[in-house]
């Protein structure tokens, strides 16, 4: 204390942040962020990430590369598709993804000369990129941007690289960088080259270089002129789109405003940052201001995640069920349906019914699960066909329809692994081996589906293997029907229900008859039920009549006396429960009982696992 003044002795100096901590902060913050994202991906989103790569395609062929390069920004989508395929192994794919997020952080700091103190702030672009990827939800089925999941990341890395190249160059070299970004960057990265030019212009203006005005002007001129000049080169891009090509293919309508937010924030980042004074002497950082900044930046990152990370339980269940069913894990699919706590979407219900049919448990269990028709949680107009209809058509042996919709969606949204796999299998079952071989040849060129393709190639060479394949063997009993001209109006469920419930021919197999009866139950059409019921009974003479079919027969026999059920050998338990249900119904009869939430709850607790509950209380279900 020697030599200190009185006042100095009274006011303690503010606590300073340790220099070493500040130096290491970028690494600590970056790795922590990357680790958290990687863990979240692998705990909650691995099925989603797998689906993302299934809905993408990358091929090491010239034709594939050339097709990307037909529009500005082609290299960006090419790289994005290349990276997306690694989600085949979600742990590996997510490792690559978070590693690139770290590169974004590192480059952000380097390009914008951000000091270590603001390392968390430099993570915000990475967080925004993450939001762009993870807000997708149902967009993964509809977005026309190829390599959507990675495109923002790749594009933003190009922006940072371009600004960095400008900063690194000297004298006229800087002008060469500007010209290069426009002339070469635009064809390869589209809109992101324009964004880079704007970033360079603002950086130049902020600097004290001699020719900053001329450089900035050159950038602005090139931002406008480059797309105009390239319009005569690109033969499949609208003039207006030349300025936006490479941006995600959302619309500029009210519907997509929310989806745009992280993109717009990210676009603004390199434009605003040159004007934010972020370089500080490390020694002047007090602990309190440091803490405020760290907590503030971390909060922004967390809030961004909470807002934009899509976390709909039905969506996740659909994705998980799809993956389980693709691996023929029907029991797992049922477990996922069973774990649902909210009203399911129709896809979940249909998947559950398919799994039960495959396991031969539909008659006893199809009403043991939550039922209903929650609309997909998305501002998009979702069609069941896009999210799961192809799998349903395939397993219900509507080969031409499955093939057709794979092709229709491939044309509209781009070729995907998912579609190619169905096209291989439907072509094989339909007796078109040459066509199957074409798709097999393509899949053999992918990094991760060669083995899958080779398995089916053996079936091309030896069609007898088709009937021996476990998956196909379970489909062939439903493939026994005669050709007819038909159409589904893209309504998968309505089509399947009506098709199975109202179709019968001499080739109908026991499995076909069971599917028909299930559809008749769902349709709640009494005459159709009886037709299907007797066909089912005839084709399952040796089997016990499952509970739900008995329940329906009891109910319909009592509701309408058209069919004499008095001699039907119902299980005693089913009969007693039906009598109990009738008494319960009389006791709790209120007007519009089927739409009364209280009554619904009461009945659900007691009869929620019966056809009777489904018949009376599952109403107003809309398919899509």
């Amino acid at each position: 204390m020697k030599g200190k003044t009185k006042s100095q002795a009274k006011v303690a100096p503010p606590a300073m942040v340790e220099g070493n901590l500040l130096k290491r902060l970028p690494l600590i913050a970056g790795l922590s962020f990357a680790f958290v994202v990687w863990v979240l991906f692998n705990v909650f989103e691995h099925e989603f990430l797998f689906r993302v790569q299934e809905l993408s395609l990358w091929l090491p062929t010239k034709v594939y590369f050339d097709e990307h390069m037909l529009v500005p920004g082609g290299l960006m989508s090419y790289i994005a598709c290349f990276l997306t395929q690694f989600f085949y192994y979600p742990m590996l794919g997510s490792l690559i993804y978070v590693a690139l997020l770290l590169v974004v952080q590192w480059m952000t700091m380097k390009v914008f000369r951000i000091s270590s103190r603001h390392a968390l702030l430099a993570l915000i672009p990475s967080a925004l990129i993450l939001c762009c990827s993870m807000e997708a939800g149902y967009w993964i089925f509809q977005i026309k941007t190829q390599g959507y999941f990675y495109s923002m990341l790749v594009g933003f890395l190009f922006v940072l690289s371009a600004i960095w190249a400008y900063q690194t160059a000297k004298g006229w070299g800087r002008f060469a960088v500007i010209l290069g970004v426009a002339a070469v960057g635009y064809p390869l990265f589209g809109f992101y080259a324009s964004l880079a030019l704007v970033g360079i212009a603002l950086w130049a203006l902020r600097s004290n270089e001699e020719r900053r005005g001329a450089m900035a002007l050159a950038c602005v001129v090139l931002v406008i002129a480059t797309p105009i000049l390239y319009y005569s080169v690109y033969e499949q891009t609208r003039f207006a789109n030349m300025f936006t090509v490479g941006m995600p293919a959302f619309t500029f309508s009210k519907r997509d405003v929310f989806t745009w937010i992280p993109y717009v924030l990210l676009y603004l980042f390199p434009l605003v940052l040159p004007f934010v004074p972020l370089k500080h002497d490390a020694e002047s950082v007090t602990k309190s201001s440091f803490l405020v900044e760290v907590l503030g930046s971390a909060s922004v990152i967390v809030v961004l995640g909470l807002i934009f990370w899509y976390r709909d339980p039905n969506f996740r269940a659909e994705i998980k069920m799809n993956h389980a069913m693709e691996r023929l894990e029907w029991r797992k699919a049922l477990d996922i349906a069973k774990a649902q706590k909210q009203t399911p979407t129709r896809l979940i219900v249909l998947n559950k019914n398919l799994a039960l049919l495959k396991l031969g448990r539909a008659g006893d269990e199809m009403f043991h699960y939550l039922d209903g028709g929650e609309a997909p949680n998305s501002p998009l107009k979702i069609r069941l066909m896009q999210v799961g209809g192809k799998m349903l058509y395939y397993h219900y042996a509507r080969m031409n329809f499955c093939y057709r919709w794979c092709l229709e969606d491939a044309v509209e949204y781009g070729w995907k692994i998912d579609y190619l796999k169905y096209m291989v299998r439907t072509s094989l079952i339909s007796g078109e081996p040459a066509l199957a071989q074409k798709y097999i040849n393509t899949l053999k060129k992918t990094l991760f589906y060669r083995g899958w393709a080779e398995k089916y190639e053996k079936m091309v060479q030896n069609p007898k293997l088709i009937a021996k394949d476990r998956e196909m063997a379970s489909i062939l009993p439903l493939y026994q029907y005669e050709d007819q001209l038909d159409g589904d109006n893209s309504l998968v469920e309505i089509y399947l229900l009506n098709y199975f419930a109202h179709t019968y021919n001499e080739f109908s197999t026991p499995m076909f008859n069971e599917a028909a009866l299930m559809c008749a139950l769902t349709l709640k059409d009494i005459p159709t039920f009886w037709q299907c019921f007797f066909r089912y009974a005839n084709s399952h003479k040796a089997d016990r009549m499952p509970t739900h079919y008995q329940e329906a027969a009891l109910l319909y026999g009592n509701l309408e006396k058209g069919v004499d059920i008095s001699k039907m050998p119902f299980d005693k338990m089913v009969e007693l429960r039906f009598q109990d249900f009738m008494k319960f119904a009389q006791k709790h009869a209120v007007e519009n009982v089927e739409r009364d939430p209280e009554a619904k709850k009461l009945f659900y607790e007691r009869y929620g696992n019966t056809f009777w509950y489904f018949y009376f209380f599952i109403r107003d279900v809309k398919s899509y």
Partner: protein, 508 residues
């Protein structure tokens, strides 16, 4: 230093090896032909065709390809050929009317093997220097990106004539189809755009106009076109088209006309008049004879039993729609047609004939025929047939047909080459095949339109359709076409013609 020298020697050796392809001096001859892709067999080719590059689908340590014609030869190494364009062109030009042997030498562990030669006969007559076609995914309802492209047949240069994405937006798609030329020249041409910014773009020496051919008195805008060879007239079919889907058959889809007629469009007067308008007849696919004095077309006769369920009935009875070929005389100066004359009673053969095309010398009628319907591009049994109009002899052009679809076809301007689409490669995607048609009226084995990369078609997921020969390229740029399509559409006027569309029964 020594290390550097070694590198130089190694590099020099590799370079030299790459430049000095030579046929091996010692080899064993094999009686079988090499396995190549595409599977070009013994074919007749024009001297102005692009290189027929192939890839070897067989094992071997080294491959040498040789083109041999008399004492002249071209040799190259590698598992894929990529003939230098100029060398190839010179070689073929010098081989006119002669046979080229395509020889393959493969190095195995036991030495070189020479496979049986494949013979490529070089015809004396050239093929038209350009062709155009529409590139389309073989989908059913969606189309997204479509383009009409032109290809220089003697090289691999392909250019876009027009691409619908130049005007399509996410919400407003644009379909393009039916490009057509007058007498193989592109200064008079047309194509349709449907939906967004729709209309028919008609290019004449006077300029480009976007016309709406739909009038209150016609079923639709013009569909299948046929330019009159001497006058500014285009015959069209007008069609109300629907489609439905096979649940099992590999044909996958049926595209049916619910109604169809024929119209004539007078370009100079901007007037549409009816050629055929009989509600019991489904007239379609007009085609002019080269002298412009006869119009050929197809028509199916159908009597609807229940008009209240007309559409359903047409779908249910799809196999009953069988098209015959008819013709009408025509006076271009008065624009009057004579009565219809039956050329081919396909229905009597339980067949359906489509797309009649008359050879430039007027002697042969080439068409596609299958069991039923009018959209043979989706009919696996569709084959090309030929009628000799001098003798009226009908025959299946077995030389060019396959077990899969053969459909849309064109004659070259000298009548010596046929260009048609086929799904024979994989059953799903139409590819272009070229066949020589000799003076005796015999077609030769067809060959696939060559691409630089022999595996191009395997990797390509789009179909080629409506192939047409041209003797010159389209000079208007795609962007200019987009500009014309952005302009306001001009509506054609309807001109009633005495005797057509009058006193008809069963109007619906």
């Amino acid at each position: 230093m020594q290390y550097k020298s070694l590198l130089h020697i190694l590099f020099g050796t590799i370079l030299l090896a790459g430049c000095t392809a030579a046929v091996p001096e010692q080899y064993v001859e094999s009686a079988v032909a090499s396995s190549i892709h595409p599977a070009y067999g013994d074919i007749t080719i024009p001297y102005n065709i692009a290189p027929l590059n192939v890839a070897y689908e067989m094992e071997g340590k080294a491959f040498v390809s040789e083109l041999k014609c008399g004492a002249r030869s071209l040799v190259m190494k590698g598992k894929q050929t990529d003939w230098k364009l100029k060398q190839w062109q010179r070689f073929l030009a010098s081989a006119k009317g002669e046979n080229i042997e395509f020889n393959t030498y493969v190095k195995t562990s036991e030495g070189w093997v020479k496979y049986r030669s494949i013979n490529w006969y070089v015809a004396e007559e050239p093929i038209d220097p350009y062709i155009s076609y529409r590139i389309i995914a073989p989908s059913y309802v969606t189309y997204e990106e479509l383009s009409i492209r032109q290809r220089e047949v003697g090289t691999f240069d392909e250019k876009v004539v027009y691409n619908n994405m130049l005007l399509s937006t996410g919400k407003d798609g644009q379909c393009i189809n039916c490009h057509s030329y007058k007498n193989y020249k592109t200064d008079n041409m047309q194509f349709h755009a449907r939906q967004h910014k729709g209309g028919t773009l008609i290019v004449t020496t006077d300029g480009v106009k976007k016309i709406s051919l739909k009038t209150d008195s016609t079923i639709s805008a013009g569909v299948y076109p046929a330019w009159h060879p001497t006058h500014n007239l285009i015959a069209y079919s007008v069609n109300d088209t629907g489609q439905s889907f096979h649940t099992k058959k590999n044909n996958k889809i049926e595209v049916q006309d619910l109604k169809s007629d024929l119209i004539l469009y007078d370009i100079d007067r901007n007037e549409v008049s009816l050629i055929e308008h009989d509600t019991l007849e489904w007239e379609v696919f007009p085609a002019w004879a080269p002298d412009g004095k006869t119009l050929y077309y197809c028509s199916a006769h159908m009597e609807i039993q229940d008009y209240s369920q007309r559409e359903r009935e047409i779908i249910d009875r799809y196999q009953e729609f069988q098209y015959n070929i008819y013709r009408k005389s025509f006076d271009p100066d008065t624009q009057t047609f004579g009565p219809s004359e039956l050329v081919l009673d396909a229905k009597a053969m339980n067949k359906s004939a489509t797309f009649p095309r008359i050879s430039p010398d007027g002697r042969y009628l080439l068409f596609a025929m299958a069991e039923y319907g009018c959209f043979h591009i989706w009919h696996k049994d569709a084959d090309l047939y030929l009628i000799d109009l001098e003798t009226m002899e009908l025959r299946n052009v077995k030389e060019v047909n396959s077990s899969d679809v053969e459909s849309y076809h064109s004659w070259s301007s000298n009548g010596r080459w046929m260009l048609f689409t086929s799904r024979r490669d994989d059953g799903g995607y139409t590819r272009l095949y070229i066949a020589y048609f000799d003076k005796e009226g015999k077609a030769h084995q067809p060959f696939l339109l060559p691409q630089r990369n022999p595996y191009f078609y395997g990797d390509y997921y789009k179909s080629y359709n409506v192939p047409e020969f041209m003797i010159e390229p389209v000079s208007i740029t795609p962007q200019e076409f987009a500009g014309y399509l952005n302009e306001e559409v001009i509506s054609a006027k309807f001109r009633s013609q005495k005797g057509v569309g009058e006193n008809e029964m069963n109007k619906d």
